[in-house]
């Protein structure tokens, strides 16, 4: 379902290209490097996040995506390891896989997974693994879809993005990082989303883990 490879770019410290369903995102990480004066934080690592759409000029929609990714990545980073330094996270959406004026959930979920791979590729300290999954509930309110396709997404009553922090070899869910839901749903549906979303996140985390294993093989090929 999810295809990804790390180390695709040269001038940056960590990079990855991730394709999940019809959405393709490329992420690059540079850091810890010297921050500009106004970005510097006295005790921890400053984060500069840039999201660029596949069509047109970056607008408030991308600004919201940046804010959401920041909310997910900040608690997971080992921020106090790099005081007064800067990490640059750049996302380039190559294929949105959803109508941009109406939805941005599949792009958000792909960006979070890509951020995890790129951060690991760059070797920046993170305290736990995390993975994200996009869910949607179909018009009839019963069927819950994981990583819906564009057609299913359009017909869905509500769309949810779930990001979880995982521990112990991506088996145990440690904490909820982000749950963002839009549309028409009730409490019972939300709990069902959380429940199914957990299993899907664990499955995605295992797929991400395999990608990292390939990266490690490639990193020490000369040994």
């Amino acid at each position: 379902m999810l295809f990804a490879q790390t180390g695709v770019l040269e001038l940056v410290d960590g990079s990855c290209k991730l394709q999940c369903g019809e959405t393709t995102v490329m992420c690059s990480v540079t850091g810890p490097i010297e921050p500009k004066a106004r970005q510097e934080l006295p005790a921890q690592l400053a984060l500069e996040i840039v999201v660029r759409p596949c069509r047109g000029v970056p607008s408030t929609r991308e600004k919201l995506l940046e804010d959401q990714v920041r909310g997910v990545v900040t608690p997971v980073l080992a921020r106090y390891l790099y005081p007064r330094q800067l990490a640059q996270l750049c996302f380039q959406i190559l294929e949105s896989g959803e109508p941009e004026e109406l939805y941005s959930s599949k792009e958000l979920s792909a960006c979070i997974n890509a951020a995890f791979l790129a951060l690991v590729d760059a070797g920046i300290g993170i305290q736990a693994s995390f993975a994200s999954v996009c869910l949607s509930i179909l018009e009839d309110g019963q069927r819950l879809l994981v990583n819906p396709s564009q057609a299913e997404l359009i017909e869905s009553r509500s769309t949810h993005v779930l990001a979880l922090q995982l521990a112990a070899g991506a088996k145990k869910v440690e904490n909820l990082l982000l749950l963002e839901s839009y549309g028409d749903f009730d409490e019972q549906t939300l709990l069902q989303v959380l429940q199914t979303g957990e299993e899907a996140c664990v499955k995605t985390a295992l797929e991400l883990r395999k990608v990292i294993e390939q990266k490690l093989q490639k990193d020490f090929v000369w040994r």
Partner: protein, 375 residues
């Protein structure tokens, strides 16, 4: 060598401590069972609203000419004041796939949910005495309100369609405007079927004064109140509109440019904006914060050691100390009947457990029914 320097503990006033070390001040308050805004942990701030008599369609006859505000709301919650004003415009729809009026739009069947709903374009301005480009917070707030409004299904596209009236001047030059759906309209008005379609476009300007904590919930509630007072002006086309064909030739290419007369808005007649009442929803925010054992105030040993809960759910975050020291936020937009429109939980540094989520949804429903009663 140097004489012993005795260190006197520094003491600060609560507000100063709140600014210097927000999380320390927060933990100190929590250890006493209080919170910096001195409200109970699940108590919301009171909200007062009025429509501010800004909109030109409000009951009192505000002078019509020049006032183009269609709906307004002034919301005061704690120290924060929010003024929302709704303005609008009429836009010709270039219909992608041609439809006759009778048979319903085949192409976007009911399956395609999100594109059936109308949207509103909010612009949030947090007045903090600094003019200049919108800050990141203002942009994310506007986009979040736009997304949430679109998916909440409060406004259907039909409600924004313009039913065009016709202005006819009879023999003695006295003009009268009839609208097809009005009872006393002549058959002429009913038979007037314009080929071109127009829709209303709604803009919302949300100004925030004396910001005192997270803003998304307050802006959303103020917008909902403002929309309930919104009236849309009727629009008509002059009977004698003849599409003037202006022959234009440019570098050997000549064509007749159709100069079309635009639609005019009726300054007198208004019709209320039809909202899907069942989708009306109100927002409330919560925060989860864990008690840090070291930062507790030294407990006087006589009171019995009750096992204080490790983490606390606070409702309606207010004040610098609370906002700066909290990173796990839950924001819920729900109708009174429990049909939620938007739910956002950010994990942050503390653990958000399942029953925290359940409790916040329950509180959000109560808050929503309380707010709905106000309008």
């Amino acid at each position: 060598m140097s004489k012993a320097v005795e260190v006197r503990p520094m003491t600060f006033y609560p507000e100063v401590l709140a600014r210097i070390a927000p999380d320390l001040s927060m933990q100190r308050h929590l250890s006493l069972g209080l919170r910096p805004s001195l409200r109970a942990s699940e108590e919301f701030r009171n909200v007062e609203i009025s429509d501010g008599k800004l909109s030109c369609a409000s009951k009192e006859t505000v002078n019509r000419s020049g006032n183009n505000i269609l709906g307004s709301n002034v919301l005061k919650c704690g120290k924060t004041m929010i003024v929302t004003s709704i303005t609008g415009g009429v836009v010709e729809e270039n219909v992608p796939v041609e439809q006759d009026d009778e048979e319903p739009a085949l192409e976007n069947s009911d399956a395609d949910r999100a594109s059936q709903f109308g949207c509103i374009y909010p612009v949030v301005e947090v007045e903090c005495g600094r003019a200049g480009a919108p800050t990141d917070e203002e942009m994310t707030l506007s986009q979040r309100i736009y997304n949430c409004f679109l998916h909440s299904g409060l406004l259907s596209k039909e409600a924004l369609k313009v039913s065009v009236g016709v202005k006819s001047t009879n023999a003695d030059g006295q003009a009268s405007i009839q609208y097809p759906d009005e009872k006393d309209s002549t058959d002429l008005a009913k038979s007037f079927k314009p080929r071109r379609k127009w829709t209303y476009v709604l803009y919302a300007k949300i100004q925030v004064f004396s910001r005192d904590g997270p803003l998304f919930e307050l802006c959303w509630n103020s917008l909902i109140y403002a929309l309930q007072t919104t009236q849309l002006p009727r629009a008509f086309v002059d009977e004698r509109t003849t599409d003037l064909k202006i022959p234009v030739s440019m570098r050997g290419r000549s064509a007749a440019i159709r100069e079309t007369f635009d639609i005019l808005c009726d300054p007198v007649k208004f019709q209320p904006l039809k909202l899907n009442a069942e989708n009306i929803s109100f927002a409330s925010n919560f925060a989860v914060i864990e008690l840090d054992p070291e930062a507790q105030l030294p407990k006087d040993d006589d009171d019995m050691q009750v096992d204080s809960p490790t983490s606390v759910l606070l409702a309606d975050i207010q004040g610098e100390a609370e906002e700066a020291s909290v990173s796990s936020i839950v924001s819920v937009v729900t109708g009174t009947a429990g049909n939620m429109k938007h739910f956002k939980a950010i994990g942050g540094d503390s653990k958000i457990t399942l029953d925290m989520i359940k409790k916040s949804i329950k509180l959000a429903k109560l808050r929503s029914s309380d707010l709905e009663g106000k309008s």
